[in-house]
C-alpha cells in the first residue's frame, strides 16, 4: 500500500450571504459541507459531480487558493490549515494546480520561459544557467520544441497551452497536482493526447492527481479511485470498479446514465433506461437526501466502497 500524502477531514467551505440594512450574515452557501477524503502517493483520485456541486471549490482549498471554514487539511501528517503554515513549509512547492482555461491561466504578457520559471524562482531559486537548463528540460518533458521558449501564450494552440500549464505545474517536482477539468476546454483528439501524456508523466515521476471533472468517460480513463460529489457532500466513493460496475447511490446512477452512448441500434433502449433512472432519482430523492435536500452521511459498504445510503437499504 502506497503512503498517504493528503487527508481531508470534515472540510467545510461556507460563503456568507449578507443582506439587510446592516449587511449582516443571514445565511450561508454551503459550497463544501463536510468532506473526508484521502489521497495516496502516485494514485489518481477522480472527483466528479455536476456543476455547482463544490468540486472546484474543494480543489481550490487543497491548493490553498480558497480558505476553508472548518475542518482539517493534513499533508504528510502535518496539519496545514492556515495560509501562513502552508507558506512556512512551502506547501505549493509540493502541491500544484492545472487550470481548466489554458489561455487565461497563462499571463499574456510573459514568455513561456518566464511562465515556467516563475515557480522555480520562488520555491527553488537556482543560478541562471541551471534555471535555463531546467526550463528546457521541462519543455522536453511536455514535448514542446525548444524554440518556443521565448514565445508568448497566444502563439500556441489549446493543447500546447495546456501542456505549458502542465510544465509550470511540474516545475518544482510536486507530489500532488490538482487538475481542475484540465481537458474540458480542448477538443476530443487533443483531450486524449493531453490525458495520455498526464498518465505518462505520472508513471515516470510518481505524482498523485486529484482529477476534477464532470466527464465520466475521461474519469474512467484516468483514475484509480473516484469520489462523487453532490450539493457539497460526497455521495459515493470507491475504486473505479466500485463506482462504474456497482453504483449504489441514485445520483451516481444518474450521472452514469448520462454518459452518451454511440450505439445507434440500442438508442431506444438506452433512452428508456435513462428515463427510468431519472424517474427513480425523482421518486426516491427523499429517501436519499435529508429534509434540507442534503445528501446523507456515508455508509461503508465494502473495504473500499462508501455510499450515502439511507438506513433501511443498509439492512436489505
Amino acid at each position: 500500500m502506497a503512503d498517504e500524502i493528503l487527508r481531508l477531514e470534515g472540510l467545510k467551505v461556507h460563503y456568507p450571504i449578507r443582506s439587510g440594512f446592516w449587511n449582516r450574515v443571514t445565511d450561508n452557501v454551503k459550497a463544501v459541507d463536510g468532506v473526508d477524503l484521502n489521497l495516496k502517493q502516485g494514485e489518481t483520485l477522480g472527483l466528479v459531480g455536476e456543476s455547482g456541486s463544490g468540486k472546484s471549490t474543494l480543489g481550490k482549498v487543497i491548493v490553498g487558493l480558497e480558505d476553508m471554514t472548518e475542518g482539517d487539511l493534513i499533508y504528510q501528517n502535518e496539519d496545514l490549515n492556515s495560509a501562513a503554515e502552508r507558506r512556512r513549509v512551502k506547501y505549493n512547492k509540493d502541491v500544484q494546480m492545472i487550470f481548466q482555461d489554458s489561455l487565461s491561466s497563462l499571463n499574456p504578457r510573459k514568455t513561456i520561459y518566464e511562465i515556467i520559471a516563475e515557480p522555480i524562482r520562488n520555491f527553488d531559486p537556482m543560478d541562471p544557467v541551471d534555471e535555463d537548463k531546467r526550463v528546457r528540460e521541462l519543455l522536453d518533458i511536455v514535448g514542446l520544441p525548444q524554440r518556443t521558449v521565448f514565445q508568448y501564450p497566444f502563439q500556441f494552440s489549446g493543447g500546447q497551452r495546456q501542456r505549458i500549464g502542465i510544465a509550470r505545474a511540474l516545475a518544482t517536482n510536486p507530489r500532488l497536482i490538482v487538475a481542475d477539468e484540465p481537458v474540458s476546454a480542448l477538443d476530443l483528439s487533443v483531450q486524449a493526447q493531453v490525458l495520455n501524456f498526464m498518465k505518462k508523466i505520472q508513471k515516470e515521476l510518481g505524482i498523485s492527481y486529484l482529477f476534477i471533472s464532470h466527464d465520466l468517460g475521461v474519469v474512467r480513463h484516468m483514475t484509480d479511485n473516484i469520489a462523487v460529489m453532490h450539493h457539497g457532500r460526497l455521495v459515493e466513493k470507491g475504486t473505479r470498479e466500485d463506482i462504474f460496475e456497482n453504483p449504489q447511490h441514485i445520483y451516481t446512477k444518474r450521472l452514469l446514465a448520462a454518459i452518451p452512448s454511440v450505439n445507434v441500434s440500442e438508442r431506444a433502449e438506452n433512452r428508456a433506461r435513462r428515463k427510468q433512472i431519472e424517474q427513480e432519482f425523482d421518486d426516491r430523492f427523499n429517501e436519499f437526501y435529508d429534509g434540507e435536500g442534503m445528501p446523507l452521511p456515508l455508509v461503508q459498504l465494502s473495504e473500499t466502497h462508501y455510499a450515502a445510503l439511507p438506513k433501511q437499504s443498509e439492512k436489505e
Binding site: 491561466s105 516563475e118 515557480p119 520562488n122
Partner: protein, 298 residues
C-alpha cells in the same frame, strides 16, 4: 544566444501594443494630425520659452500697454502690462502644461497604486478605501480648491499642483480599480499565487502590464482635463500666482468688457492655444482608448 532571442521576441510582443497603436493612428487621420500638432506645439512651447527673459513678462511697461498687433515689432500686440503677446503665450503655455503634466503624473501614480491595491485585496480594504473616495467625490471640489488657494500662506505653483492632485486622483483610481477587479479574477493570477509569487509582485508585475494601454489612454485624457482645470482656475483668479502667467490669466483679460470687445488680440490667442492643445490631446486619447478597448492579449 538567449539574449539575442529575447530581443527578437520582444519586438514580437512589446511590439504588439506598439503595432496596434501605429495601426490605429494610420487609420485615424484626425488622431494622426492631432498627434503631429501636439508634438509641434510642445516643442515650440518648451524650446521657445527657454529664450524669453523673465523681465519681459514680469516687468510692467505702461507705455507699451495695449499696442495693436503689428506695431513696434509686436506681431500679436501687447497686453495691459505692455508684454508681448507671443512671449506671454509661450511662457503661459509652458506653465499651464507643466502644471497639468505634474498633476496628471501625481494623480496617475497615486490613483493607479491605490486602485490596484484596493481591487486586488477586495473585502474590507476595498470597503474602507471606496467609502473614502465616495466621500471625496461628493465634495464640491472646485469651491474647496478656491477656498484653500486663498487661505494657504506662501502660495505658489507647487501648492496649486498639490491641491489639484489631492482631489483629482479619484477618477483614475476608480477606473484602474474596475479593470484590476476583472483582471485579478483571471486564472493566471491564481496560477501565480500557487507558484508562490508575492502579492506585491502579482499586482505590479503581472496585472498592471496587462492594462498598460488603458493606463496610457487614461493618463492622456486626464492630462487634457487637467489643462482645462488649471486654466479655469487661473481664469477665475485662483490659479497661478501673479508673476507666473498662465493661459487662464491671459484669457482673464476678457472679463473686462472693454478689452473683450475692443482688444481681442489680448485674449483670443490664448483661447485658441487651449482649444487646439486640448482638442488634439482628446483626439489622440480617443485613438489610444480604442487601442485599449481592443483585446490585445489574444
Amino acid at each position: 544566444m538567449r539574449k539575442k532571442l529575447k530581443i527578437k521576441e520582444n519586438v514580437g510582443n512589446g511590439g504588439l501594443l506598439k503595432r496596434t497603436m501605429i495601426r490605429e493612428f494610420k487609420k485615424d487621420s484626425l488622431a494622426r494630425y492631432s498627434l503631429y500638432t501636439l508634438i509641434g506645439i510642445l516643442l515650440v512651447v518648451f524650446i521657445g520659452a527657454l529664450f524669453i527673459p523673465r523681465a519681459s513678462y514680469v516687468d510692467v511697461n505702461i507705455i507699451d500697454q495695449y499696442l495693436a498687433p503689428m506695431t513696434d515689432g509686436h506681431i500679436l500686440g501687447t497686453d495691459n502690462g505692455g508684454h508681448d503677446i507671443i512671449a506671454m503665450l509661450l511662457v503661459s503655455a509652458r506653465n499651464s502644461l507643466v502644471i497639468a503634466l505634474a498633476v496628471t503624473f501625481i494623480t496617475f501614480v497615486f490613483g493607479t497604486i491605490l486602485g490596484t491595491i484596493t481591487a486586488y485585496y477586495g473585502g474590507k480594504v476595498d470597503m474602507i478605501i471606496m467609502r473614502m473616495t465616495d466621500f471625496i467625490m461628493i465634495l464640491p471640489v472646485l469651491m474647496i480648491i478656491i477656498v484653500l488657494v486663498t487661505i494657504v500662506p506662501k502660495y505658489n505653483a507647487g501648492t496649486l499642483i498639490i491641491l489639484m492632485s489631492a482631489f483629482y486622483w479619484i477618477g483614475t483610481m476608480r477606473l484602474v480599480r474596475s479593470r484590476v477587479l476583472t483582471e485579478s479574477q483571471r486564472d493566471y493570477v491564481k496560477a501565480s499565487k500557487t507558484s508562490g509569487t508575492s502579492d506585491i509582485k502579482i499586482m505590479f508585475r503581472e496585472i498592471l502590464p496587462n492594462i498598460t494601454s488603458l493606463l496610457i489612454a487614461e493618463a492622456t485624457l486626464s492630462f487634457a482635463g487637467n489643462i482645462g482645470l488649471e486654466t479655469g482656475l487661473s481664469f477665475l483668479g485662483f490659479g497661478l500666482p501673479a508673476g507666473t502667467p498662465s493661459l487662464g490669466t491671459m484669457i482673464n483679460e476678457a472679463t473686462n468688457p472693454e478689452t473683450m470687445t475692443a482688444m481681442p488680440w489680448t485674449w483670443v490667442p490664448a483661447a485658441i492655444v487651449i482649444l487646439i492643445v486640448v482638442l488634439s490631446i482628446i483626439f489622440v486619447g480617443q485613438a489610444l482608448r480604442r487601442v485599449a478597448d481592443q483585446r490585445q492579449s489574444v
